[in-house]
């Protein structure tokens, strides 16, 4: 089941590769079909998750095939409560991204080829339970991102943005790689494996020495952190998303960026509880940079994409805070924010992309009164902005609420003041920049130059309706997500908070 979700986009890429370059309809049709297929299978998997039988390590829908037996590398995929929602969200965003790609009019063959490789890479990275594939799939998704921004990007800053995002993300991926290799080498040569389940079991039985953890944990934290735009390494994000073509921004900000967070939750926390105990204080401090500083920056933006980009960075702060709180409520909340923000980021970038095709600008000072011409897009934008400032009814609220409740009980120093700051950032700063955007883009008097602006026709509404429906469904029935996440998060929190015992054991040995 998981294999077909991952394979469909790659197969589509292959078909596109062997299709003559002027068969535009075919590229688009194949891409839409493949992502729709992935989405349908992913939906079936998400809905059937509870009923499915759990395999090794509590994972479900496991599929395994040997790849390089001599090095212990297997193709090994499976889901638990944490990545099942992420994959489902990723499939929704992938289909939506294929839908909005109609705006691309040049060199479509290469574009759709890269889009499909990126989609397949993203879905593969979240499904992999083998470190090698986990990392390789991520690179498969990352490299098309750079190329797409470079070739189909827009704005004067396009080249600088490509340069910036490539450097930052490659550096982040590299630092994380060093950490992962360090982790791999901690296992004695005879038992070395890339199997995440086996690694988890091994380190549960034989905890890593505390001093090694102190060294490896920050490598993963900052490496993955850079990939997620952890303050102060976030500057690539608004810049890159401002320049990226719509579908790329949707896929990267929505799904691929969550890879770093997923890595932190899946690998860094359970395997290195001692490292976590020391370094999560730092993470909690830095996440205030995301929530407050990036929120303030977003308030000052006059370009819609820059505003959304900065707000997306700010939202990541909530996930970091949830992870740093290191308890069941906080970590579950963090995963919910990851999924909710994925849908929301995709939705907002899709909307700004649509507005840009109509107005040829994203400068909010030039816009105004567009709600009159764009009743559907405008209503969707208002809903997206409201979801972004944590309105109940949307999934984001559930996540942010749980993160705040969880962080209140966190053990790091002054945790309560962090919650105060997070509430200020989420409720007040978020509302200010989101409503300012609505005020400048949609409200006010309509200028004559926007007389030719047209609202989305029926089939172009599809991606927006799909993303909004998912946000609302998870907002109204959060237990669709939390009941799946809870048992898996509990297991991870249990391993991550066993730090004391681990330290003692390693001293004894």
């Amino acid at each position: 089941m998981l294999t077909s979700i991952i394979l469909l986009p790659f197969l589509a890429a292959l078909v596109i590769l062997f299709t003559p370059r002027n068969y535009r309809v075919v590229f688009r049709g194949v891409a839409l079909l493949a992502t729709l297929g992935s989405l349908l299978v992913a939906t079936k998997m998400f809905l059937g998750y509870e009923a499915a039988e759990a395999g090794v390590g509590g994972y479900k829908f496991i599929e395994k095939a040997a790849w390089v037996p001599s090095l212990g590398i297997n193709y090994f995929v499976g889901v638990d409560g944490i990545n099942v929602g992420l994959i489902f969200m990723g499939a929704i965003v992938a289909f939506a991204a294929a839908c909005v790609s109609w705006e691309i009019k040049t060199n479509e063959k290469l574009y759709y080829l890269l889009l499909m490789v990126m989609t397949g890479g993203i879905l593969g990275a979240f499904a992999s339970l083998d470190l090698f594939f986990f990392y390789a799939f991520h690179e498969f998704a990352l490299i098309p991102t750079f190329i797409m921004i470079g070739l189909w990007g827009r704005g004067e800053n396009k080249n600088y943005a490509t340069f910036n995002i490539t450097l930052y993300l490659s550096a982040g991926a590299l630092i994380a790689l060093v950490g992962l290799i360090g982790l791999y080498l901690q296992v004695p040569a005879a038992q070395r494996t890339f199997d995440i389940v086996a690694l988890t079991d091994y380190f549960r039985a034989n905890p890593m020495a505390a001093n090694v953890q102190h060294f490896i944990f920050p490598l993963l934290m900052f490496g993955f952190g850079i990939l997620v735009s952890l303050w102060p390494f976030h500057t690539w994000a608004p810049l890159g998303y401002g320049a990226a073509p719509t579908a790329t921004a949707m896929l990267h900000a929505g799904v691929l960026k969550k890879f770093g967070l997923y890595g932190l939750i899946r690998i860094a926390l359970p395997l290195m509880p001692e490292g976590a105990k020391d370094w999560l204080n730092v993470l909690a401090l830095l996440c205030l940079g995301n929530i407050l500083y990036c929120g303030w920056v977003a308030m000052r933006q006059r370009d819609l994409n820059q505003l959304i980009g900065n707000s997306s960075v700010a939202h990541m702060g909530f996930v970091f805070l949830g992870i740093a709180s290191l308890n069941l409520i906080g970590v579950t909340g963090a995963v919910v924010v990851m999924i909710a923000h994925g849908l929301l980021a995709a939705l907002t970038f899709a909307l700004s992309g649509y507005i840009r095709t109509q107005t040829n600008t994203l400068n909010m000072d030039e816009m105004g009164g567009l709600l009159r011409k764009l009743p559907f897009i405008g209503a969707a934008l208002v809903m997206a902005m409201m979801a972004g400032c944590g309105l109940p009814g949307f999934a984001n609220f559930v996540g942010e609420l749980s993160v705040m409740f969880g962080a209140w009980k966190a053990s790091f120093g002054h945790a309560k003041w962090f919650v105060v700051a997070a509430a200020w950032g989420g409720l007040v700063i978020g509302a200010i920049y989101m409503l300012r955007a609505v005020r400048s883009v949609l409200h006010g008097e309509l200028s004559d130059k926007w007389n030719s602006v047209e609202d989305a026709v029926l089939w172009r509404k599809t991606p927006f309706v799909l993303l909004l429906a998912a946000l609302l469904a998870f907002g109204f029935w959060p237990r669709l997500l939390t009941d799946k996440i809870k048992p898996s998060a509990e297991a991870i929190v249990k391993m991550a908070t066993s730090g004391k015992a681990v330290a003692l054991e390693s001293v004894k040995r």
Binding site: N327, L328, I329, T332, G333, G369, L371, R372, M386, C389, G390, L391, P392, G393, F397, V398, L401, S402, M404, F405, G406, W408, K409, V419, V420, A423, W424, L427, V428, A431, I432, L435, R436, V438, R439, L442, H443, G444, E445, L446, P478, R479, T482, D483, K486
Partner: protein
């Protein structure tokens, strides 16, 4: 699924009907004016009927809890979407659905010529859903959820004429100011939860009764943080700034949301969580300068100050809706002061009577504005008594009730608050009496200038009585 259905589970209908109406209008019928209006009005009338049924069935009962919905359940964080029927919520249900029904019907006349009537009724139904959610809620997080939804429906309705820059700015201001209050509110909720391990009103109250000393240490802070939410919604100083600007919305909206129901939500919420304030107050060290004051004292003084300052501002306004808005502010200050003086009963009494007479005044003002072609300056009116007799007499009745003239309802409820004040604080009693005098002054000024004398503008000259659906003739 339905075999365990109890009669009280019908209360869910009160909440769900407006939601269904909002969804149906938003998704399907917003282009059709008449149909949208019909759906919305039907929903609120049915809600009112069911509310009356609930009131009759359970008016003697102390507490009835229809089957709740397990909404969120992560570790210690358990949140239900559950209803709570007790005398407080049953009374408030009647106020909200009753005033709501009247205003929905009135709106049908007032908004007839607007080309976005579908959107108007959709937002109105969304508002009814959110407001009824606050009224029926059985826990703090659910209250917060619907609290936010009320904020957003108010945002949508204030900014209904979004092309007018003043309206677009006003809705933004209202939402952000409310958010400032909600910032304190959510922290207060988290604080209560972290102590009592629950957000359910019943459970929290039981915990407080059994752990008075533990609760005493945070009671004052938690109480004031939750009061922040009420300061935002009920527009207490210094978060009162949004309410006068909110008059940019259509007048029926001002009547329903910004006079009768939403702004009263803060007062209602304070009465609902009044048990939080019972404990002996101990301030933490960094707030040591507050020793000798209780949280309720602070609330009473903020309420009293708001009442006075708003009444003073009302005296020098010329816009008919702004005069009424400042008057609403002042009366809300009254109610909050009454809660602070440990008189939640008096406060709820005044809330109820105020909801009716203030909605009446706003609807009268709407009728005047409609007749004068959207002229709102009272100095451009005059002599309307002869031209609009129904509006005049009903407006006059509302004014007399607001001024506290017996035997109208305002007299009894205001008297109750003044009596409470005289028992607890002489200073606040004098202040409240002064506010009552000011109220009489600015309302008489409004009535005399707008309805008596000679007409002072062309619009007023051509004014004639509003259609039947608005006056009920």
């Amino acid at each position: 699924m339905f075999e365990n259905l109890q009669p009280e589970d019908l209360a869910w209908l009160i909440l769900l009907l407006p939601l269904l109406s909002a969804a149906a209008i938003g998704l399907f019928t917003h282009r059709s004016h008449r149909l949208s209006a019909q759906i919305s009005i039907t929903a609120v009338v049915l809600s009112f009927v069911v509310s009356c049924g609930m009131f009759v069935m359970f008016k003697g009962a102390k507490l009835v809890l229809p089957t709740p919905l397990n909404w969120l359940n992560i570790g210690d964080l358990k949140v239900e979407i559950g209803l709570r029927l007790d005398p407080l919520s049953l009374l408030m249900l009647l106020v909200v659905t009753g005033v709501g029904t009247m205003i929905h019907i009135y709106s049908y006349g007032y908004m007839k010529e607007d080309r976005c009537m579908g959107r108007y009724f959709g937002s109105l139904s969304l508002f009814m859903f959110s407001m009824l959610g606050i009224v029926l809620s059985n826990n703090l997080v659910m209250t917060f959820i619907f609290w936010e939804l009320v904020g957003v429906s108010s945002y949508l309705l204030i900014g209904f004429w979004y092309e007018k820059p003043s309206a677009a700015d006003a809705c933004k201001k209202a939402f952000i100011t409310n958010r400032l209050g909600d910032f304190g509110f959510i922290l207060g909720i988290i604080l209560v939860w972290s102590m009592a391990k629950s957000v359910n009103f019943e459970v929290v109250q039981a915990w407080i009764n059994s752990h008075p000393t533990e609760w005493g240490g945070v009671a004052a802070i938690a109480g004031l943080l939750i009061f922040c939410g009420a300061m935002g919604k009920s527009a207490q100083f210094p978060l009162h700034v949004w309410l006068p600007d909110a008059m940019e919305g259509p007048t029926p909206v001002s009547a329903l949301i910004h006079a009768a129901t939403m702004v009263a939500a803060g007062v209602y919420m304070l009465c609902r969580v009044f048990f939080l304030f019972g404990a002996h107050t101990v301030w933490p060290d960094f707030l040591g300068f507050l020793n000798g004051w209780s949280a309720l004292d602070i609330i009473a003084w903020i309420g009293g100050f708001t009442a006075l300052i708003a009444a003073l501002m009302a005296v020098q306004q010329n816009d008919i809706k702004r005069i009424l808005a400042y008057s609403t502010l002042s009366q809300l200050g009254y109610m909050v002061m009454a809660v602070g003086l440990t008189g939640p009963v008096a406060s709820m009494y005044h809330l109820t009577t105020h909801a009716f007479f203030k909605a009446l005044l706003f609807l009268g003002a709407g009728s005047v504005i409609y007749a004068c072609h959207h002229e709102q300056d009272i100095w451009h009116m005059g002599g309307l008594k002869k031209k609009m007799p129904v509006t005049f007499w009903t407006f006059l009745l509302g004014t007399l009730a607001l001024c506290g003239v017996p035997p109208l309802s305002g007299f009894y409820s205001k008297d109750e608050i003044l009596a409470t004040a005289s028992h607890h604080s002489v200073f606040l009693f004098i202040l409240a009496s002064l506010v009552a005098l000011l109220t009489t002054f600015y309302m008489s000024r409004l009535v005399l200038v707008a309805f008596f004398g000679s007409t002072r503008s062309e619009h007023a000259d051509h004014a004639h009585e509003s259609p039947k659906v608005m006056t009920g003739r």
